[in-house]
Amino acid sequence: MFRKVLVANRGEIAVRLIRALREYGIRSVAVYSDADRSSLAVSLADEAAYLGPSPASQSYLRIDKILEAARGHGAEAIHPGYGFLSENAEFAQACAEAGITFIGPPAGAIRKMGSKTAARQLAIVAGAPVVPGMAENIGNIEQARSTARALGYPVLIKATAGGGGKGMRGVEREEDLQSALRDASSEALRSFGSGEVYLEKQVVEPRHIEIQVLGDHHGNLIHLGERECSIQRRHQKVVEESPSPVMLEHPELRARMGDAALRIASEAGYANAGTMEFLVDRDLNFYFLEMNTRLQVEHPVTELVTGTDLVVWQLRIAAGERLALSQEEIGWRGSAIECRIYAEDPENHFLPSPGRISYLHEPSGPGIRLDSGVYSGWEVPLDYDPLLAKLVAWAPSREEAIRRLDRALAEYEIGGIRSNVAFFRQILADSDFRAGRLSTEFLTSRSFSRTGPELEAEAAAALALAMAESQSEAAVPSAPTKSAWLAAGVQSLLQ
């Protein structure tokens, strides 16, 4: 096993990886930009290396600097996390050339699966069903128009090098095609360094269900079941769960989709952890969408129901160990649901809400896993995806997991910035969500607005503020320091 590993990422996933390394007695090297000098991840690591200014292009995306840090600290391997360089074949290649193990699939597999159009071709060869669409990138608008007409609207524009909804646009009518193509392509260019996009038929109200696979370098390949990630906003997953509610009713679907995923992975010569994303329609037909050749944000739900540790297997596989788990040994127990806690404003287009976390009370207790990258006093930077933490609940049944998650969300208090914590409670209260009737249209077809407090709750808040003011006036010795938010609430009194 490695003695020292560099974590080429930030935020909650860097914390999660550093924890895993510590648990395995492997020294961890964190990297950081200016914005992350005082990040939680750096403070929990054994060693740390400065990369550069805050923009990712000058820090977390700088292959040269990351390799220099790895060499300088004597790291034998690099874990890329998700995002940033995690699906960058050149980076994997550069690691190999520097004699440093890239903890992930071989560069060749990243290349094969990194292009969505090539991945589609590979899936077709492997005999897995795919969504009808283009086998190559869009060359010009006329080609796009004719393809879209042939597929039939609605169609979906997707970035060839993409992921996470960046560079993706749904198009309902031909007149919107051109501007959508322009937006998608420019977003793709900025996000992935390539503006290439392609067209697919849009499956109506599909479920997004993905299969986790794990393979070693000795030809062993298994799947760890599915995650349903249908609750998306602008193609960004916000709630993920395992098992999928549809699998609870149709358990044979897991084996069929698992089989298809393994055939694709095998065809790609895949090793390490990876995920095959599928759309599932109402008749339980499934279509391969794309493969993510990295650890997923939502991997904890799989870990909780299967009782495995995916990061540990990534490390062991990268170190050349054999996968000691057989498909028969993988069992599923209970239900796990994850919420992605973002610094964003659900009442204002979900715009990011960076700033200082002035107060933080995190939930814990039975069945709660919190993978957090923040602390009270942390300044959420402008420069990156504003994911604060992942809150995951496990319980013996889906219904209990929902209620447990709701309990934990009610305890989750974040002050100083806006977050989507309360928004999740509205999703969890939705009767379709509770019944497991999910689709990727779930959020677009609903609008959640916050409900006013009950009268007595209003009175309680007013009492809290009024008494805080009077306590601080009376200078009661046991009263805590007068705080920013209380001060703001009562400021007019002092004028």
Binding site: D183, S186, E187, R190, S191, D345, H349, L351, P352, S353, P354, S358, Y359, H361, L382, D385, L409, A410, E411, Y412, E413, I414, G415, G416, I417, R418, S419, V421, A422, R425, R450, G452, P453, L455, E456, A457, E458, A459, A460, A461, A462, L463, A464, L465, A466, M467, A468, E469, S470, Q471, S478, P480, S483, A484, W485, A488, G489, S492, L493, Q495
Partner: protein, 162 residues
């Protein structure tokens, strides 16, 4: 002690005498009873009203979390000179401003255009996401104060709709 309150945009008044209180909202409802308040973590309070517990913690600026639920709140001393600040919409003229620093990608309207509620006005990119700012009302574009590729700061007015 008497304080005026503005909670989720609705005005009210709370009167406190010893451990008794009476809270009256200007739209009618009244609640009164016995209470106690204790400090928990710095900034967090637990309030008990007639045996029912409320946890009041700081939320986003100007908001409290009541049992985890965000609620905008301000209190005022009625003896003070400052008049109440309204939390509601400010008449017929609406300024569409940048919620955070970023860059204008495209401007979708021109001065004088008629717009519908929900119609896109301007696309701003911030934190790698393109966000279309929509018109809060049907009306006419009175001013366009920005242009493509302009860097914008938080709070900067981009478009005015009347």
């Amino acid at each position: 002690m008497t304080r005026d309150t503005l909670i989720e945009g609705r005005s009210g008044r709370i009167r406190i005498e010893g451990s008794s209180f009476r809270y009256e909202r200007e739209d009618g409802p009244i609640v009164e009873g016995e209470f106690s308040v204790e400090s928990l973590e710095p900034d967090c309070r637990r309030v008990i009203i007639d045996g029912r517990v409320y946890r009041v913690a700081p939320g986003a600026r100007g908001e409290a979390l009541i049992n985890g639920r965000p609620v905008s709140i301000e209190i005022f001393d009625p003896r003070g000179l400052r008049s109440r600040k309204s939390g509601g919409a400010s008449g017929g003229r609406q300024e569409i401003s940048a919620p955070m620093p970023g860059k204008v990608v495209r401007v979708l309207v021109q001065t004088g255009d008629s717009v519908e509620a929900g119609q896109g006005l301007v696309v701003v990119e911030a934190m790698k996401m393109q966000n279309e700012m929509k018109s809060p009302k049907a009306g006419r574009v009175a001013e366009v104060r920005t242009h493509p590729d302009a860097a914008v700061v938080a709070g900067e007015t981009l478009i005015v709709v009347e």
